[in-house]
Each structure stands twice: as C-alpha cells, then as structure tokens.
Amino acid sequence: MSISIEGITKNFGSFQALKNISLEIPDGQLVGLLGPSGSGKTTLLRIIAGLESADEGRILFHGEDVTRLHVRERRVGFVFQHYALFRHMTVAQNVAFGLDVLPSRERPPAAEIHKRVQMLLEMVQLGHLADRYPAQLSGGQKQRIALARALSMKPQILLLDEPFGALDAKVRKDLRRWLRTLHEEFHFTSVFVTHDQEEALELSDQVAVMSAGKIEQVDTPQKLYAQPSSRFVFDFLGQVNVFRGERSDSTLRQGDAWVRLPDAAGATSLQLYMRSHEVRLQTTPAAHAHLPLRIESVSLVGAEVRLELSPVGWASDEPWEVGITHAQFNTWQPQRGDQCFAVPQVAHLIEVDAHTPHTLRWEAGEMDDPAAMI
C-alpha cells in the first residue's frame, strides 16, 4: 500500500515542527526518515499513523484520503520507541490484544487467536516466552514482541519510531538484518524514523533526510551518499573533510595550502567538501593539490585504518579524517606527528552562502605521481 504525504504542516504553539512536507512512498518500500532530534521526523511518523493531526495537508494510503480517519481505523502497525508493551499483560496477551478488542462479530474464536499468537511468536523466535511479562524480557526481546504485536493485525503499513535506538550495537545489527528479511517476506510498506545515518543507509530503499521541519533530500542510500544535494545532508551523512579558501583564477588558496580546480567557478569564497574515501594520502604533494597535514592519531580497529589529521600552515574547523587500507598502512607505517599530503580525487564545491554543491573530479592522469603514492 503506497503512502502519499501532501503538503503537511504542523505547529506546536509558535514552534513550526513541519513545514509543507510532501513525500511519496511507493508500495512495498522501506523508507527511512533520517534527521537530528527536533527535525520533525517523529512528528511526521505520528501524523502518518494518525496519533497526531496535521494543521494542513493530506495523507493518502493507496490513493485514498485518510487525513480525517481515526488512528483506530487506519489499520497501521506501529512500533514505539520504548516498545510500549502492556506491562500487566503476558507476552501472549500483548500480541493477542489487537485481536481481542475486535468487535465480537469480527473476532476470531479463542482457539484461532491462540494459534495466530503462537505463529507470530514463532516468527519472532520467541515462542518460548509466551507466558513471561514484559519486565522479564531483555530490550531486544521486547522490541521483537513489539514488532509481533504490531504485525498481529496484518497491517499493510508498518511504522517504526527509532526502532533500535535503545539497544546495544550487536542486538541492533541482528534486528536490522531481521527486519529487512521480514520486510521482504511480508511485503508491507514501512517507514522508520532514525537519527543513525548508518542504520538509515543500510536498511532503507530510500532515505528522506529531514532538518528543521523540512525534507532536505529523498534518494536511495547510494545516491544520497555520493551526491548530497545540500550542505546539511553532506554534514549529516558521516564524516566530511572541509577545505575553505579564496579562489583566484582556478586555484583555491588558504595559507600554505591550495587546490587547483578543474573548472573555474564563479564565486571567490568557496568550500571544498570531501568524504574520507574521496581523499588519498601521499608523502609528497600532488600536481593539483597542496594540502599539508600532520597525523594526530591512528585507529587500527575495523576494516580500514582511520587517521585523524590536523592542517599544517592552514586552518579547518574540524580535524580531517582519512581511511587507508591495512596493506597501505603496513608499507607506509605512518606515526603520530608524521607529515603527509591530502590528494582529493573527487570533491564537492560549495559557495560559502550557497546551498547546493557542485561535484568536481580530477582526471587520473593529472594526479598520478607513482613515486609519491603510498
């Protein structure tokens, strides 16, 4: 069932939580609403569910206007951030609740409810906990019960509010994988809210990045990461290295550092944004860039070695971060305090007061200097 969000606006007193939001969520997709706290993502989710009402705009499920429809009638599955399990009911009673409160004409017989609850509990692999109370479960188990309960009414739309926010890293990873499988198996349309960019990028078909009540960009995770459409998205989606400078002709310069731009842009005050994988490190400067850096720390944990670097002879608000492979690390053996040079391969140019970046690429030929390569 597709979801259409049309021009939703919501105010809490004088605070505008959502500003004219429009978003199309195609049938069967898993869409992440990503943003910092206070960006309005949870409010949007609650408006889709009907737990909150919009001041303006419409919500459509499968082309049908549900804006005036009560939560009860919308038949969505909702997973709350803190699970919201009924504390005085057993796990089985929790999962059965939706079926139990059906009007007697529609309610299946007790035996069938029991069977369906068992099935749902098996699905979340917690059949053996049917008689426990929520207080006796771990966080991950509670989350799975909350999910089983949300799915008990066979909803075609599943909404999840920070579903893995309160869980530790290992459990999160398991649950994410498992939600993905579940989603493919049951083919519902899901929207989930998160402030964790890694989670959003890993789990979603599409991610809507929100900031201050507006949607900044909606795209697939790959495109979002490779081509952020705004400075905000850039900053929000992971570590970014920034070089700020003044342009004269085709050279962007600040202090001792400079970068030659492949095409001359209009403004003079410019910022160059680079992801850590878009920069290479060398022991000598390249032909098109002179960005001296000093190694501040070396972190060996993980798939790559992460170096934290500080500028030498120029300035940046945040330290730079660049990843190199373990093989490169072993041949180069960089130490804290060593000096090296950053060589951008791809960079994103933003005028200081502008919003939208412009992506730059340097030809392989003009930067290869085999002697200097690590």
Partner: protein
C-alpha cells in the same frame, strides 16, 4: 586482627539507640497509649454496657449516616479523581498547571473554613442557598450538605495518588492500544485501569478513612440534630458533652476500629504496589 569498620554519619551506637528510644517513647505516648485507652474506656463498664451503648437508637443512626456519607463520597471522588488525573496527565491545555494546583486547595484550607464557605453559599441566606430555599431544596443542616463538604474535603486523595503514577507511566501504552484498534472504554478497562489499580485502591482507602472521620467541616454544616444529621464523629462529641463518657468512647472505638482496618488495608496495598514495581526496578539495572 579485627578490621576497624568505617564509620558512616550517625553510625555511633549511642546516637543511634538514643534516637530509636526517643522514637519508640514518642510513638507509645502519642499513638499507642491513647488508642488502647479508647478501648479501655469503651469497655470500662463491661461488654454488656458497650453493646447497649452501640445499639442506642441515636448511635445506630449516626453509624448509618456515616456509612451513607462514605458510600456516596467514595464513588463520587473515585470518578472525579480518575477523570481529573486522566485529564491533566494525558492532555496539554491552557490552565493545566493551575488545575493541578487547585486540586490541593482542600488540603490547604482548614475544614472548618470549607464548611463555613459552603454555609455561606448554600445556606438559606446564601447566594445559591436563597434561590434553593425558594424552590424548597434544603442542603445545609441535612445529609446532602454533609456529603457535599465531605466530598470537598476528600477530593484530592484519589487524584493526588494517580497523577504522579500516570505521569510516570506516560500515555504510550494507551497509544499502542488505539493503534491496535481499541475503543475508549477498552483502553480504560484493559490498559489504564490495570496499570493504576493499586494506586487507585490506595486513594480510595484514604478517601474512605477521611470521609468517615471528618469532623470540622461536617460540624459546621450539620446542625447536630440528634438522630437526623449526626455523624459518628459528631455523635462522639455530643455524648461527651452529655457527660456520657463511656458512651462517647464506645462510639469512638468504632472510629478507631475503622482506622485500624484502614491501616491494615493500606499496608497491604503498599506491599502490592511495591511488588508490582519490583520487576521494573530490576529491569533498570541494564538488562
């Protein structure tokens, strides 16, 4: 070699036992001895006389009236308290904070003042009272007046018990219930009520105890008409003024009995509440 225990503040045996001793003596002097004395005096002329005193026509009427007042007050304040607690914990509206403060007025005001206010409003010369008199409705100096002031004096108990609990529990469970299709009554009956039941019972026990024992406010609006508007606590005073000390204490022993039952029920409810919360506390240590 024996290791010297680290001393905490107030860990000196002398201080500790002096304080404990003082507490015991105070409790004995101020609570236990008077309580025992009530029963001692009540039975001082023998058990037969005790029964005679209680089965006295006026005493029986006082018992009946007191039970009637409690039987009306408790349900009224039960509904009122739940409604109010639900209102201030589940909705945001202008004046919400003021309302929470207003609930405490009956605690802050002396019951006698409350009684006088009601007399001023609903008495035959009062603003509303004069209109009521014209229409042949008499509230003051009859049982409806007694119920009215008792309701006023006891109305914070239930709400005061429920508000912090419902605030702490939050409305998420109810929201989860609505999303799953429950209607308003099902929500209240199956989610809200089970979550607040022990606090609610606690509030009811306190309301009942106060409703039965209320003296000040009731004494102002009742008019002390023997066999008509005399509640048990007023009756005790009346008997005492009649120099029927044994009779007064016999009636007082009933009130003391109710108080003892209240304490037992209250302890039980507290114990249940603590048990209900126990697993939640366990949970918070990082499972």
């Amino acid at each position: 070699m024996q290791q010297r225990r680290t001393m905490r503040a107030g860990d000196q045996p002398l201080v500790k036992w002096t304080l404990i001793g003082l507490a015991i003596i105070t409790t004995l002097l101020m609570l236990v001895i008077p309580l025992v004395l009530i029963f001692d005096m009540a039975f001082s002329a023998g058990v037969g006389n005790y029964w005679d005193n209680l089965s006295n026509q006026y005493t029986r009427h006082a018992i009946g009236l007191t039970l009637l007042v409690a039987a009306l007050t408790v349900p009224i304040n039960l509904v009122f308290g739940v409604f109010l607690a639900w209102l201030v914990t589940r909705f945001e509206f202008p004046g919400r904070k003021v309302l929470i403060t207003l609930i405490d007025i009956p605690f802050a005001v002396s019951p006698v003042v409350a009684g006088l206010l009601y007399l001023l409003l609903y008495g035959s010369n009062g603003w509303i009272g004069s209109w009521l008199t014209e229409n042949d409705v008499q509230l003051m100096f009859s049982w409806p007046g007694i119920v009215m002031v008792t309701v006023f004096v006891t109305c914070p108990f239930v709400a005061r018990e429920l508000i912090p609990l419902m605030q702490q529990q939050g409305g998420e469970e109810e929201e989860a219930g609505v999303v799953l299709g429950a209607n308003g009554w099902q929500l209240f009956r199956r989610i809200t009520l089970p979550n607040i039941q022990w606090a609610l019972l606690y509030g009811v026990v306190l309301t009942n105890a106060r409703a039965v024992g209320e003296f000040g406010a009731v004494s102002v609006v009742s008019g002390n008409i023997r066999g008509e508007t005399n509640t048990l606590s007023l009756h005790v005073e009346l008997l005492y003024q009649d120099y029927n000390v044994v009779g007064a204490f016999a009636a007082a022993s009933l009130l003391a009995g109710i108080a003892l039952i209240t304490i037992v029920v209250k302890s039980f409810v507290e114990w249940r509440q603590a048990r209900q919360r126990a697993p939640l506390d366990e949970l918070s240590d990082g499972r």
